[in-house]
């Protein structure tokens, strides 16, 4: 595993901080402000809005996984129930029964999330490790089942729908146009990012790291590890609830799916792909995840297959996530040796692209053959094919096999070079 972080700890420090802190946060804010000026289409706005909520959700998840070592399979419970409370609140605002400005609705979602964090977290955080993971799974299933059993609150199969445009908008912000929704989400996303980052540098945040590394010892420096996990979970649930409320505003509907296990899998994938050992890892992961879910699902029905494959490849070859890939390459760059890798990168990427193209073609053609509604005819990369004939299979198969062989050899060369560079850096360090 050439990309496995050799010193995961110093990667943890690789985050916006100290001198560059204001610069990095300022740039982040500017980018978020400017994005809609570059991507004006409605589709892009929806995509970016979803990314914003997912960033909050994934970061809140990583407060548990990356920062505190708690693997949760039921994080959607907090975002989902936060969304449910938000949707009912929004409906009451619409009827004029609650005088709350809609832009503050995420706060309601957050408080609801924290409330359920207090409730369920009391049970889940009694345990750690695998037991914790299993209990979160159980509570997730329980809440999902409840969502179908109590239609009065959860709205049954159809869920609860709402209208974010209320009769008396706050300061003229109707939230009708999707650009307004984007900026609302961007604002809450930015606030949440700053707050969650700040949390990592508080006494509780640091002790959470200590609990992750060595819970046993934490008990002997005066801390109740259960209490540390419990408080962390409540705070994490608060931010998950904010994400839930923003989803409610964005889609104007909340269904049982919002509290489902599938929804809980999202932040897990995003955090892992992005890198749990870095504060900004889940941000990258969330953007990629939403890209798969929203953008790719428009192009192919097999998007979940590609997402799954991507996830498996990442976990196998870059367990530290994309953030660790960036950090490791920056380290090589720092030592002035990145140029040695450029041809290797080129070959790996080329061979990888050919293999992947062959793979996609095979998947898409198989899909066309098995889809009852389809006749075997389809398009991949804009090229029409008929899966019931031999030629396209030959082409795809050739790409897959030839690409695969080339990739294997390119990968070997890359690993050799990478190993030598690692060794040189280590030697320099000890010299």
């Amino acid at each position: 595993m050439p990309f496995a972080p050799t010193r995961s700890g110093d990667l943890l420090r690789f985050a916006p901080m100290n001198v560059g802190r204001w610069f990095i946060w300022g740039t982040t804010a500017l980018v978020m402000l400017a994005l809609p000026l570059v991507f004006r289409q409605g589709f892009a706005l929806t995509l970016m809005s979803s990314m914003g909520t997912m960033i909050i959700f994934a970061l809140s998840y990583n407060m548990l996984l990356g920062q505190s070592g708690m693997l949760s399979f039921g994080h959607a419970v907090y975002s989902g129930l936060g969304a449910y409370v938000a949707v009912h609140t929004l409906n009451l605002i619409g009827k004029g029964q609650i005088p709350l400005p809609v832009p503050l609705l995420p706060l309601v979602g957050g408080l609801a999330g924290a409330f359920f964090g207090v409730l369920f977290g009391y049970v889940t955080t009694k345990k750690s490790g695998t037991t914790f993971a299993m209990i979160t799974l159980g509570i997730g299933e329980m809440v999902f089942a409840s969502a179908l059993m109590f239609p009065a609150f959860f709205g049954g199969e159809g869920g609860v729908s709402t209208n974010r445009v209320v009769p008396k908008p706050f300061l003229g912000i109707t939230l009708g146009p999707s650009i307004q929704v984007y900026y609302l989400i961007a604002l809450w996303c930015f606030l949440s990012m700053v707050l969650m980052y700040a949390w990592t540098a508080t006494p509780l945040g640091r002790i959470a790291n200590a609990v992750r590394d060595n819970p046993e010892r934490v008990a002997f420096i005066g801390y109740d590890t259960q209490r540390v996990r419990y408080l962390t979970l409540i705070l994490s649930a608060f931010f998950a609830g904010i994400a839930g409320a923003l989803q409610c505003i964005n889609f104007e509907i909340v269904t049982a799916e919002n509290v489902s296990a599938a929804r809980s899998g999202g932040p897990l994938i995003a955090a892992f792909v992005g890198g749990v050992g870095f504060f900004f890892g889940p941000i990258i992961g969330a953007v990629i995840f939403i890209f798969f879910v929203v953008a790719l699902s428009d192009f192919t029905k097999a998007w979940q297959l590609y997402l799954g494959l991507f996830f498996v490849l990442m976990v196998m070859f870059a367990p530290g996530g994309i953030a660790s890939l960036i950090a490791l390459n920056l380290r090589v760059l720092e030592h002035g040796m990145l140029a040695r890798l450029r041809w290797h990168y080129l070959w790996v990427l080329l061979a990888g692209a050919v293999t992947f193209a062959g793979f996609i073609a095979v998947v898409e053609m198989t899909y066309q053959l098995n889809d009852i509604a389809a006749d075997g005819k389809g398009k991949v990369f804009g090229i029409a094919f008929d899966a019931q004939t031999f030629t396209p299979w030959l082409v795809a198969g050739t790409l897959l096999v030839a690409g695969g062989l080339a990739l294997r050899s390119a990968w070997r060369g890359f690993r050799r070079e990478w190993g030598e560079i690692e060794q040189t850096i280590l030697d320099r360090g000890s010299a």
Binding site: R206, I221, G222
Partner: protein
């Protein structure tokens, strides 16, 4: 006379049917340096695990400065002023030396579970951590990850974490285990420094360390204290020689 720093009253511990600690009575006065020695399997580490709350006792009582702490959890005992180190290095590997120590000072400075203080803004925590780093001689390794330290440095950090909270009763479990002669000498000097004005109880195999440091020594054999006395008297004690020291000499 004020209460003993630590008092063990007829302490028993069994794992299933196996009795490990069989009626230990021991009082360690405030400010005393007390060593516990005994052959492997005598129950020395178990005794530490009972005192620090890591294992529940089977019967008997543990008093810390006169207060019954028998049924308390480790963190509750720690908050009452008892801190311990571990035989197998037990540090936060993925945090820097400084962060390791700073974590260990936070509770005693009253920051508890705060998520509204900025760590880097806490001057008292930083200063305390820095003075501890200086005491254990790791100030030059401030930003090194604990997992990357040499063994002897990790053992020093282990002691640093133990004393950082300002506990007045310190339990050290084999602080010099696995060290060479030079490292051991440094560790002894360190232990002497940090235990000034505190109560120290240590489990140790290295007899030169034990006889050089301890005011009194207890000999634990098969879960029972067969003698507690000053080093000179322990050396002369016939029962001890037979049970332990003589056996050592025969090797």
């Amino acid at each position: 006379m004020s209460a003993a720093a630590i008092e063990l009253q007829n302490l028993h511990k069994s794992f299933g049917k196996t009795a490990i600690i069989r009626g230990v009575n021991l009082a360690v006065a405030k400010g005393e340096r007390h060593a516990i020695i005994g052959p492997n399997g005598a129950g020395k580490s178990t005794l530490f695990n009972l005192i620090s709350g890591r294992f529940p006792v089977t019967s008997g009582a543990i008093l810390l400065n006169g207060e019954d702490v028998t049924r308390l959890k480790p963190f509750e005992i720690n908050r009452r002023g008892l801190s311990r180190s571990f035989q197998i290095t037990n540090i936060f590997h993925r945090l820097s030396v400084f962060e390791n120590i700073r974590c260990a000072v936070l509770w005693s400075l009253g920051y508890r579970y705060s998520f509204w203080h900025r760590l880097d803004g806490l001057k008292d925590a930083r200063e305390r951590a820095e003075s501890v780093m200086q005491a254990i001689g790791l100030e030059r390794r401030r930003d090194t990850l604990a997992g990357l330290l040499s063994y002897a440095e990790q053992r020093a950090l282990e002691i640093g974490i133990t004393i950082a909270g300002g506990a007045d009763v310190i339990l050290l479990d084999e602080p010099t285990a696995g060290m060479n002669r030079g490292e051991t000498a440094q560790a002894v000097a360190l232990i002497r420094r940090i235990s000034q004005g505190k109560t120290l109880i240590m489990v140790e195999h290295d007899m030169s360390v034990v006889f050089g440091l301890a005011d009194r020594i207890s000999v634990l054999v098969y879960g029972e204290v067969i003698a507690t006395d000053a080093p000179g008297a322990i050396r002369q004690n016939k029962a001890v020689q037979e049970a332990y020291l003589g056996q050592e000499a025969a090797h």
